[in-house]
């Protein structure tokens, strides 16, 4: 341990203030706090179109229990949701509705594409006249999970992946750069 530490580089004395690349201690710490809050409180929109919605419900159920991560506050109204889990096929008629729901959500908002249908049209990708071949034609997607339908564990994994993604966001730093 001791040897490794000395090999890392020149020693610094405690309390030394560095010029950081990210714009200072205060901003980075604030970003950390904001990201911590946002990543740990992802409230999903109650949105399920088909089979994947049942696995989403299983994830909410007692065995898989997404409430452990604070996801259980599923909101029925898009105004209060942070996350839209697109669980199931999106067809041409549903696409404008999905777009509107996404627009109604306040920033910051995230999207998980759950299942093969939302990635590429899934088992309905050919010779159908009504299926949107991938939900990313309609709204931007943060995390994709394959599966038809994905297991609840896969959904949890995708949500944790999203949490990690949020933890690397730099909200204040961007603000400061905008000002500069």
């Amino acid at each position: 341990m001791e040897i490794n530490k000395s090999m890392e580089g020149p020693l610094t004395f405690p309390g030394q203030v560095h010029e950081t690349a990210d714009g200072g201690i205060l901003v980075t710490k604030l970003d950390d706090v904001i990201n911590w809050a946002r990543s740990n409180s992802l409230w999903p929109l109650v949105f399920g179109t088909s089979c994947c919605a049942i696995e989403m419900m299983s994830t909410a159920g007692a065995k898989h229990d997404w409430s452990r991560f604070g996801f259980e506050v599923a909101r029925a109204t898009p105004r209060q949701a942070d996350l839209i889990i697109v669980a199931g096929t999106i067809v041409m008629k549903m696409a404008p509705v999905l777009k509107r729901l996404y627009d109604q959500m306040p920033e910051p908002k995230y999207v998980i594409a759950m299942g093969a249908c939302t990635i590429s049209g899934g088992p309905f990708f050919y010779n159908t006249y009504s299926v949107v071949k991938g939900v990313d034609h309609v709204i931007p997607v943060d995390v994709y999970i394959p599966g038809c339908p994905p297991r609840p564990e896969a959904l949890l994994h995708s949500m944790i992946t999203l949490q990690e993604k949020i933890k690397n966001e730099q909200y204040f730093k961007k603000k400061i750069e905008d000002v500069r």
Binding site: W36, A37, N40, R68, G70, E72, P106
Partner: protein, 364 residues
């Protein structure tokens, strides 16, 4: 040990008062400073309380639903609500284009203020009361029904039919249930002979009203808990929100911080209602006393009065939370039927019974 027994918040308040009096000589300024300190600490207390209640609700729900509940953020998930609140504060505060902007933004503020105002006459511990107003019961019942204005405002100004339906439901509901709440409060006023909450607590020195007042007071206690659950819009009486029917009810269009304020007022209301129930029926901060058994009463006095108050309050909160996670929601006409056909006649008859009991001196 002697100090512990006689310890009360009044000495602490006096200490701060003297400390400030030395620093600030102008009596007007002193008064204002004290008020500001009081206000800030009160709001801080209520917010912390709501954090706790939110956490408690998640955990009670998890307990009822055989699952774990939040356990990742902070020890045992206790920071979950902090994260939620922080996130809501930082979220974009949307105001819909077609909404009435002034009323839309005013509504959550009114809700929070109305629910916070109820705190004034409540005695949290022995000699710890903001203002023992002599018409405390009247004040409580008057102020607690102010919240409906906020709900109606929110529902109307959102320019959303779901919101409007929710607000209309809520208006009818709160006006109706106010009657039963009032009548069940009156039964205690009749017995104790005072409207002041401090006097009511002191009148329970030789036993809580729910024990002293036999069955009639128990009936009014049950009616109070049911009716006040309805008054604060919690399931199974959450007609104003009714997620499965109206998606979000009156707060469908609210996002971010304004929505957080609705949540805040919901939890403050929950606490206030339970605190009033505990004060009137279960003796507030008064320890469990049995008239005549001095030795027993003395032992009970060893438990601090604030512990008594909060344990009673949280017991009632726990019961109301259990309602929420167990019962199906009533339909809107059944809700009004329950009030006008059952609760109101029963509580009217009950008031007469209590009055007869009080006149004849049949209670302990």
């Amino acid at each position: 040990m002697r100090i512990l027994l006689t310890y009360s918040f009044s000495s602490f308040a006096n200490y701060i008062h003297h400390l400030l009096a030395e620093l600030i000589t102008n009596p007007m300024l002193l008064h204002v400073t004290e008020m500001v300190i009081l206000g800030v600490s009160l709001i801080a207390f209520l917010v912390v309380l709501c954090f706790f209640l939110g956490y408690m609700e998640r955990k009670v729900a998890a307990f009822m639903e055989i699952r774990l509940g939040p356990n990742r953020v902070g020890p045992k998930g206790s920071m979950q609500i902090v994260a939620d609140t922080l996130k809501l504060l930082l979220k974009e505060g949307l105001t819909p284009d077609s909404a009435d902007k002034f009323l839309f933004n005013l509504a959550p503020v009114i809700m929070v203020i109305a629910s916070m105002m109820v705190i004034a006459p409540i005695a949290f511990a022995k000699d710890f009361q903001l203002y023992d107003i002599n018409i405390g019961v009247l004040y409580v019942s008057a102020v607690s029904s102010l919240g409906v204005i906020g709900i109606l405002m929110a529902g109307w100004s959102s320019n959303n039919k779901y919101s409007l339906l929710g607000a209309m439901r809520s208006g009818a509901q709160i006006v109706s249930y106010e009657l039963s709440v009032g009548l069940s409060l009156i039964s205690i006023v009749v017995l104790s002979g005072s409207l002041s909450l401090g006097d009511i607590v002191r009148s329970q020195e030789n036993g809580w009203w729910i024990i002293k007042g036999h069955i009639p007071v128990m009936i009014s206690f049950v009616i109070f808990v049911i009716a006040s659950t309805a008054e604060i819009n919690r399931a199974p009486f959450d007609m104003a929100e009714a997620e499965q029917e109206l998606t979000g009810g009156f707060h469908t269009e609210y996002a971010g911080m304004k929505f957080a304020m609705f949540l805040l007022s919901e939890y403050i209301n929950l606490f206030m209602v339970s605190a009033i129930a505990a004060t009137l029926f279960l003796g507030g901060w008064m320890p469990f006393h049995i008239g005549g058994l001095d030795g027993f009463n003395h032992i009970m006095d060893f438990i601090p009065s604030s512990v008594w108050f909060f344990s009673k309050t949280f017991l009632i909160i726990f019961i109301i939370m259990q309602f929420r996670w167990t019962f199906p929601r009533l339909r809107v006409d059944q809700l009004l039927t329950l009030e006008w056909k059952y609760l109101l006649p029963i509580s009217m008859i009950n008031v007469i019974l209590v009055t007869i009991m009080a006149i004849m001196g049949w209670h302990f």
